[in-house]
């Protein structure tokens, strides 16, 4: 099982041309080859690694996706699923050209089952669209990675987000899938039933497989009742260590906080300027959100205030009204853009590490020291309740030395996290940027992943070059 597999080659131009011709004949103006559309589909929001697909097709049904994949399968041409392109790790770059399947027109909410607390959506539905659709039902879908990503993309990358502490990640919230396999067959995995111990867990295997094992076209999602009461609060700290230890203490006590976000002084400074937050200092800061019954929220926040006071935190600043809350979270969600605005002309890439909560303080403080040592601008922000944080590294794209410094820091964050029993991808996935780190972290298991990839996609047409290194790098 350790046999190396040759790196995939680009399909021959005449094969691609013939396939593009067939797609154009079949799908008309839904099969687009003009450069600007292809460029737009060649990258996500991460570092610029654009690799253009040969054609972008907009299917509208499972059957169309299956038919396109069958054509690609017959011609051995790569096929890459695309949602709205918010990925940060180069997941959608068409490294070997091929067909980009833009699923944004598969945007229907197929069913909402209030009694069973679940719903079924097409892959192109975005999370904001779903929640707008659910308005009035008393239900909501909690996973919130910041970007208004499609649910198909979130499932494919096993997205998490600001409230994973309470609601889990996509792993816990996808009940079933409809997928198109590499040979163009439609299968349904999982389903309406809340539990099953029948067969291997294909649902979770496909969740997080980044389009390399199958193309997700429909998702059955778990929904939650809108909490009776929601309150958000901000608390500021003299230093990063005391903010982090507050989080650790809260998690240890098992306070069911819906969200805890950390922003270091640099990030807080950026957010204050970018989002015009008033009355805050550029100090390490925690954002909290509490969900529950009124009494429950009251109790959780009292406990939390005791802990923050013990760690030298300021008094809570409350945001109880929905518009105040959304201003606060909007500032948090715009952290990446706020960081970019700190140094106009620079580019940013965000690392994504996750460590066991007991090692969080060590990992954050060592990372901070590394950044200071290298004299870089790199704010820290994170969903620290589950040990997940991001370092947003700002570097000058025209200065190779600056870029190398940034990459060095990022590599050290990954190896530091792994050495502490953590992982180099808390929620952004592997894509093309973290293939090496995956090998470092998983060792033998990577062989198994490779064998599974070969078993489910023997021709290597599904998003080739991503997620699992198929060449023998190790």
């Amino acid at each position: 099982m350790n046999a190396p597999v040759a790196a995939r080659a680009r399909p021959a131009p005449e094969v691609v041309a013939e396939l593009v011709g067939r797609l154009a004949a079949q799908y008309g103006d839904r099969a687009i080859t003009n450069t600007s559309v292809r460029e737009q589909h060649g990258h996500g929001e991460g570092m610029a690694d654009a690799a253009l697909p040969d054609v972008v097709v907009y299917p509208t049904s499972n059957e169309e996706v299956a038919a396109i994949v069958r054509l690609c399968h017959a011609a051995r041409v790569p096929v890459i699923a695309f949602g709205v392109g918010t990925s940060l790790e180069g997941h959608v770059a068409a490294l070997y050209g091929g067909v980009c399947l833009d699923l944004s027109r598969m945007d229907r909410v197929l069913e909402v089952n209030a009694d069973d607390l679940d719903c079924r959506v097409q892959a192109g539905v975005t999370r904001e669209q779903l929640n707008a659709d659910l308005k009035g039902t008393g239900l909501f879908f909690p996973i919130d990675p910041g970007a208004n990503a499609t649910l198909g993309g979130m499932a494919a990358t096993r997205a998490s987000g600001t409230n994973a502490v309470r609601y889990g990640t996509m792993r816990e919230n996808v009940l079933g899938l409809t997928v198109v396999t590499a040979d163009g067959r439609v299968i349904r995995t999982g389903g309406r039933a809340r539990k099953s111990s029948a067969g291997y867990d294909l649902t979770r295997l496909f969740v997080g497989s980044e389009g390399t094992l199958a193309i997700i076209t429909e998702i059955q999602l778990r929904l939650y009742g809108v909490p009776e009461s929601i309150a958000a609060a901000v608390c500021q700290f003299p230093d990063l260590g005391s903010a982090t230890h507050t989080v650790i203490a809260a998690m240890q006590m098992g306070i069911p906080v819906a969200r805890i976000e950390i922003l270091d002084d640099v990030q807080m400074d950026a957010c204050i300027r970018y989002s015009k937050l008033e009355g805050y200092a550029a100090k390490p800061t925690l954002f909290f959100e509490f969900h529950g019954t009124s009494a429950g929220v009251e109790e959780q926040s009292e406990l939390m205030q005791q802990i923050t006071a013990e760690h030298g935190g300021s008094d809570f600043r409350w945001a109880r009204a929905p518009e105040e809350r959304s201003k606060l979270w909007k500032a948090r969600h715009n952290a990446y853009y706020a960081a970019l605005a700190l140094a106009p002309g620079k580019q940013a890439f965000a690392t994504d590490a996750c460590v066991p909560i007991s090692r969080l303080a060590d990992c954050l403080l060592e990372t901070r020291a590394d950044v200071e040592h290298e004299q870089m601008i790199a704010p820290i922000v994170g969903h620290v309740g589950d040990g997940n944080f991001h370092l947003v590294l700002l570097f000058d794209p025209n200065d190779p030395a600056d870029r190398a410094k940034a990459e060095g820091i990022a590599a050290r964050v990954a190896s530091r996290a792994i050495a502490m029993g953590g992982t180099c991808t808390g929620e952004h996935g592997i894509g093309i940027h973290k293939l090496e780190a995956l090998v470092a972290e998983h060792g033998e298991a990577v062989d198994l992943m490779r064998t599974i990839k070969r078993a489910l996609d023997p021709l290597d047409i599904l998003n080739p070059g991503k997620t699992v290194p198929m060449t023998a790098r190790d």
């Binding site: 209030a114 349904r188 539990k195 066991p356 992982t423 991808t425 996935g429 298991a445 078993a455």
Partner: protein, 484 residues
């Protein structure tokens, strides 16, 4: 019979008492909790180190000898049924709790550790392991992972797959692999989820890191009586759709409560057609709030009586009836057959009605206990294997219930696994395209199919034959409904 050469090599790996080949020594391993099926293995090995497991598997791989891993042997689907020419690899000696990390709230344990022993070890730290199959005093955590075991509290706290962080296992080739990570999310394919519920077909588990939960400050259970089974089913749906996720939501019908009452005297209302047990846990205030909501919903749903536990001893007494349901039914009937199917909650009333109709048609009483909150049914069909024809009737009745589960969009097993018991039912639930994927995954881990052969996933040939014998399976009713 084991090849003498293989036997000699096994003997060289293991201390003398850890290799059993004589009939009287291997007989205790001939079946698990599903006693309908029995097979004596060629040998039983009882290693006590991971190094020995690696050597045993390497040897069996080279010699092409089937290996069936076994924990406590409490499987209800024949997951640990031996292979006549194979080796049973018992993990009974792996029973150490290696570490408890109170900060990260995890425990690292060996696979032979009993489910309840983890909670007992974590108790001094105010923590516990949430999944609680009814067999928790006996069943082992390795088996729980292999079967993705559930339990009464899974509605709120999730199944085994939601409560395991990391699993260390040995492949049939002898390679040691870590699945998952100590941190929240491991990158790459979710092999941890793949291993969980794989019924010993992919790897032999040698170490498990489980999540621990803080013990809730307070818990209360409400017992609600209903004069009609369908009303009770509707009450379950009403609770969930009111946005309440109780810590436990269990239902028992009259046949079950009557059996239980004679056994544990839990003071259940015997005139009720069905009772619900609804548990709330959390801080005192949260429980008080949630209990008030639960009471309101139950009243609106037509409960004829609602009792809420006043203290811990009352709470445990009310639960004792539910937890003792299987042995209680065992006392009133010579034999019983436990069915395990899961359905979308909304179909509960319909499935219960049909079950009652078929019970009358077959002339076999059926006691219903189930994890109603997540739609996991355990109808217990009462029969007497000594009455000619009753066993066959029982199996036919059970098959009908499972077919109905699939028809309404459910699955043929909620928490007991497929094992040997439900291989044919898998042909109904899964289409060939899905079964081919399963076989591809199996082959990726175990090229020669040596780990637990003949379990969990049927061959396509078997499904082909099964389809021929049972023509009505070929054409599924309601093809538009989601399967499983």
């Amino acid at each position: 019979m084991l090849d003498p050469h293989v036997q000699a090599q096994l003997a060289a790996i293991l201390p003398p008492a850890a290799l059993l080949t004589a009939a009287e020594d291997t007989r205790p391993y001939e079946c698990d909790g599903l006693t309908l099926y029995r097979e004596r293995p060629a040998a039983v090995v009882l290693p006590d180190t991971e190094g020995q497991v690696v050597q045993i598997l390497e040897l069996c791989h080279l010699a092409r000898v089937p290996v069936v891993a076994r924990g406590a042997g409490t499987s209800l689907s024949g997951g640990a049924l031996p292979h006549a020419e194979g080796v049973v690899l018992s993990l009974a000696k792996f029973r150490r709790i290696l570490a408890i990390d109170t900060l990260t709230r995890t425990a690292v344990v060996q696979p032979g550790v009993r489910n309840l022993a983890i909670s007992e070890a974590a108790a001094p730290h105010g923590l516990y392991y949430a999944p609680d199959p009814s067999s928790q005093i006996a069943c082992s955590i390795g088996g729980n992972v292999a079967e993705n075991a559930g339990g009464v509290h899974c509605l709120k706290y999730g199944l085994t797959v939601h409560n395991v962080r990391r699993v260390r296992g040995v492949l049939i080739t002898g390679e040691v692999v870590e699945f998952g990570a100590d941190a929240l999310d491991a990158p790459g394919y979710d092999l941890l989820a793949l291993i969980t519920g794989s019924e010993g077909l992919l790897a032999v588990i040698t170490e498990v890191t489980v999540k621990l939960c803080p013990k809730p400050q307070h818990a209360q259970v409400a017992l609600a009586a209903f004069d009609d089974v369908e009303k009770a089913g509707a009450a379950v749906a009403a609770i969930i759709s009111a946005g309440i996720i109780p810590a436990g939501l269990e239902m028992m019908d009259q046949a079950a409560t009557r059996a239980v009452e004679q056994f544990v005297h839990a003071d259940y209302p015997l005139d009720a057609a069905a009772v619900l047990l609804v548990e709330s846990d959390g801080t005192t205030e949260e429980v008080a709030d949630e209990m008030a909501d639960i009471r309101r919903v139950l009243t609106e749903a037509g409960a004829t009586e609602i009792r809420v536990s006043k203290d811990e001893s009352q709470r445990l007494l009310l639960w004792s009836g539910r937890k003792a349901a299987f042995p209680a039914v065992g006392r009133i009937s010579p034999d019983y057959y436990c069915i395990d199917g899961t359905i979308p909650r909304r179909a509960l009333a319909r499935v219960l009605r049909k079950t009652a109709e078929w019970s009358a048609e077959f002339g076999l009483p059926c006691a219903n206990v189930f994890h109603a909150g997540d739609g996991n049914l355990h109808p217990l069909i009462l029969f007497d294997a000594n009455v000619p024809g009753e066993t066959e009737k029982t199996i036919a009745f059970g098959d009908r219930i499972l077919e109905l589960c699939i028809e309404v969009g459910g699955t043929v097993t909620g928490e007991h696994g497929v094992g040997v018991e439900k291989l044919s039912a898998m042909c109904v639930q899964f289409a060939p395209a899905e079964l081919e994927r399963f076989h591809g995954i199996k082959a990726a881990f175990d090229t020669y199919g040596l780990l637990n052969p003949g379990k969990a996933v049927p061959t396509l040939a078997r499904c082909g034959e099964f389809g021929k014998k049972h023509v009505h399976f070929g054409a599924l009713p309601h093809p538009e409904l989601p399967r499983f």
